[in-house]
């Protein structure tokens, strides 16, 4: 052995070793260069694709508030459970525990997972409470993750359901104001890049790609207390008269704001399992009705404007019915020769028809068109109906006459309320708004103040003894309003046993603040008159509304009223 050591190696063999080693080294270096330089992009991408993930940062939807800042719709954080099927499958034995906790059917989970084996992200259950979510995570199952989401909650429930509408599970508006103001309310999700390990846990936050932008709050014109009051009374009346449906609208006449809008039947927006289209429709803006006698005041407006009538002019309604072609227009009895005021007070169809026939062709149509019948209000409510008002050109006498007492045109309760608010403002129309406005709204004059004053005085008589709407009286306040009992249109004419009871009015009459319309569709009892069914709702709701808004009583004549003068005695009786 020692001899071998001292013997110099053959040069040839040595050089072979050198070459072989350097070749190997070169090959390694080349491989390193190849991977690091020439294939770097591809490999980096592959690596990133396996571990880098872009995950969303949730942003919540803005609140909806009533005019006093009370919440009507809130987004609360909830968690959604999602799984990574491959990792999750390894814990098959633990599934029953999870299924029990989430109240899911085990077979369902199995089916979902086997169908989506090749996916990376599968929702197991959405929108569970943060409490339950932490118990799910305590099971420490592989591949189970949470995602923060927001659930929409409506504290007012069915009371404001129609106006607010609702949003879907992905926090996008689907109906009502949630839909109309979706762009304003919605939050914009941010996103961030994170590094995840094999089990999908976030190891490192790499960068924020986009900042989340939370949605903005929306302040509505609704008053939650008024809304509740109107809802309660409407519901009571609809139940009492076994009616099919009903609506009520209250407008602030000075600003055009909608203070309350309620409908029956309603639904609970917090529990949307048993939804029906007939419940979710905001009937006050989507459903049309022929307004019946409630448009007679506007017939009188047309009459006064034409100059052919004055408030004291007499109309001969004898013998209480009149024939126009094949049709017969009837009053409930023969009123004889009566003034315009009595036509309104007694709601004489013959009287209104005679007035309309005495007017130039387009007069009545122009008044209706100016009041906004036949065109949508500018409320911006999704699905708002325009109504129907055919042009005067096409009218025959019978159509002119029927229009005078409210048939042959169709309006929404909101349009009718707006028309009455024009009477309340002495002829000025304001844009209808669902959001709170603090500015003074100028509006546009469409009827002369002197005309509306005369009409309002006639409308006050409707509510007083001898009128059709005595049940709309409010203690302490003067009310101006008009009843309507509308026969429903059915195939081939008008029904004799299906009605809509309507009351439209303004209060307090001497200086109106509120306009309100109540419609009750198909009351199925012995009484169905607007003055019997709809007027009491008006009275109760309006009384409460005036009290809540602190409107001073203007009717001190009817009952003995105690009045204290501050200078002499500050208190009065306790």
């Amino acid at each position: 052995m020692s001899k071998h050591l001292h013997k110099p190696a053959s040069r040839f063999r040595l050089s072979i070793v050198y070459v072989a080693v350097s070749c190997a080294t070169l090959m390694l270096v080349w491989r390193v260069v190849d991977l690091h330089v020439f294939h770097k992009d591809f490999l980096q991408n592959q690596g990133d694709a396996r571990y880098l993930r872009v995950v969303p940062i949730p942003a919540h939807r803005g609140m909806i508030l009533d005019r006093h800042g009370e919440p009507l719709a809130i987004s609360t954080p909830v968690d959604s459970v999602w799984v990574q099927p491959t990792a999750f499958s390894s814990a098959y034995n633990e599934w029953p525990k999870l299924a029990k906790l989430l109240q899911l059917d085990l077979a369902n989970i199995q089916r979902t997972i086997s169908q989506r084996k090749d996916k990376e992200f599968v929702y197991l259950k959405r929108h569970i409470s943060p409490d339950l979510a932490s118990r799910v995570m305590a099971l420490e199952l592989p591949g189970v993750n949470l995602q923060r989401e927001y659930h929409r909650y409506y504290p007012a429930g069915e009371v404001a359901a129609h106006v607010l509408g609702f949003s879907n599970v992905d926090d996008r508006g689907q109906e009502g104001l949630e839909l109309a103001y979706d762009d304003w309310l919605k939050g914009v999700q941010g996103s961030q890049r994170v590094l995840k390990d094999r089990l999908g846990r976030v190891v490192r936050h790499v960068e924020q790609i986009r900042k989340p932008v939370p949605g903005r709050d929306l302040t509505l014109s609704l008053d939650r207390r008024l809304q509740y009051l109107a809802y309660r009374e409407l519901k009571r009346a609809v139940l009492q008269h076994k009616a099919r449906s009903g609506s009520a609208v209250i407008l602030d006449v000075h600003s055009g704001e909608v203070l309350a809008m309620v409908n029956q039947p309603s639904y609970n927006p917090n529990n949307r399992d048993q939804f029906k289209g007939s419940q979710t429709r905001n009937r006050a803006v989507t459903d049309l009705l022929e307004p019946g006698s409630t448009v007679k005041p506007f017939t009188v407006v047309a009459a006064l404007e034409s100059g052919r009538f004055r408030a004291s002019s007499l109309v001969d309604t004898t013998p209480g019915q009149m024939r126009l072609g094949k049709a017969v227009i009837r009053d409930s009895r023969n009123y004889g020769q009566i003034s315009l005021a009595t036509v309104i007070q007694k709601s004489s169809n013959v009287g209104a028809s005679k007035i309309a026939l005495a007017l130039p062709d387009e007069t009545l149509w122009k008044v209706h068109a100016r009041l906004g019948f036949g065109s949508a209000t500018d409320s911006g409510f999704p699905g708002e109906a325009e109504g129907l008002l055919s042009h005067a050109r096409h009218w025959r006498d019978i159509e002119k006459a029927t229009l005078a007492y409210g048939y042959g045109l169709s309006v929404t309760p909101l349009q009718l309320a707006r028309a009455y608010s024009v009477l309340a403002t002495n002829g000025i129309v304001k844009p209808v708004s669902f959001t709170r406005t603090d500015d003074v709204i100028e509006g546009e004059r469409i009827i002369a103040a002197s005309t509306t004053r005369q009409v309002n005085r006639m409308l006050e008589a409707v509510v007083q003894e001898g009128g059709t709407g005595t049940r709309a009286q409010i203690a302490g306040y003067k009310v101006a309003g008009k009843t309507g009992t509308v026969k429903k249109a059915v195939a081939g004419g008008y029904s004799d046993d299906r009605y809509i009871a309507v009351f439209a009015g303004i209060a307090p009459a001497s200086q109106p603040r509120l306009a309100m319309v109540v419609t009750i569709n198909e009351p199925r009892g012995d009484i169905y008159y607007g003055g019997e069914v709809a007027a009491p709702v008006f009275s109760k709701v309006m009384a409460g509304a005036l009290r809540m808004m602190g409107v001073p009583p203007d009717d001190v004549s009817l009952r003995p009223l105690k009045i204290a003068v501050l200078n002499h005695s500050a208190g009065g009786r306790p």
């Binding site: 954080p77 009952r559 009223l561 009045i563 003068v565």
Partner: protein
């Protein structure tokens, strides 16, 4: 040689600086995460409190308590005294 002698400590200090900055960033990031979790927890609580508040403050419930427990009634118009300023 002189340049090299000057650059070596500079490179060393910059390397230490990187280590320090990285450490700081990790510390801050942990802090950020903690604060974000705190914020989320508070948001959750706030949402739940809002709901609780609005459940207690339902008009129906207030009316019921006022009428039944506190025996309040609407003011009858005969009891009203109007004060003229």
């Amino acid at each position: 040689m002189v340049i090299l002698a000057a650059l070596i400590p500079l490179v060393l200090s910059s390397a230490l600086g990187v280590v320090y900055a990285k450490h700081q960033s990790r510390k801050l990031f942990v802090q950020l995460n903690e604060l974000q979790q705190q914020r989320d927890a508070m948001n959750v609580e706030w949402g739940q409190l809002q709901l609780e508040l609005s459940t207690w403050a339902t008009n129906g419930r207030i009316e019921q308590v006022a009428r039944q427990r506190l025996r309040m009634t609407n003011v009858d118009f005969d009891q009203v005294v109007i004060i003229r300023p």
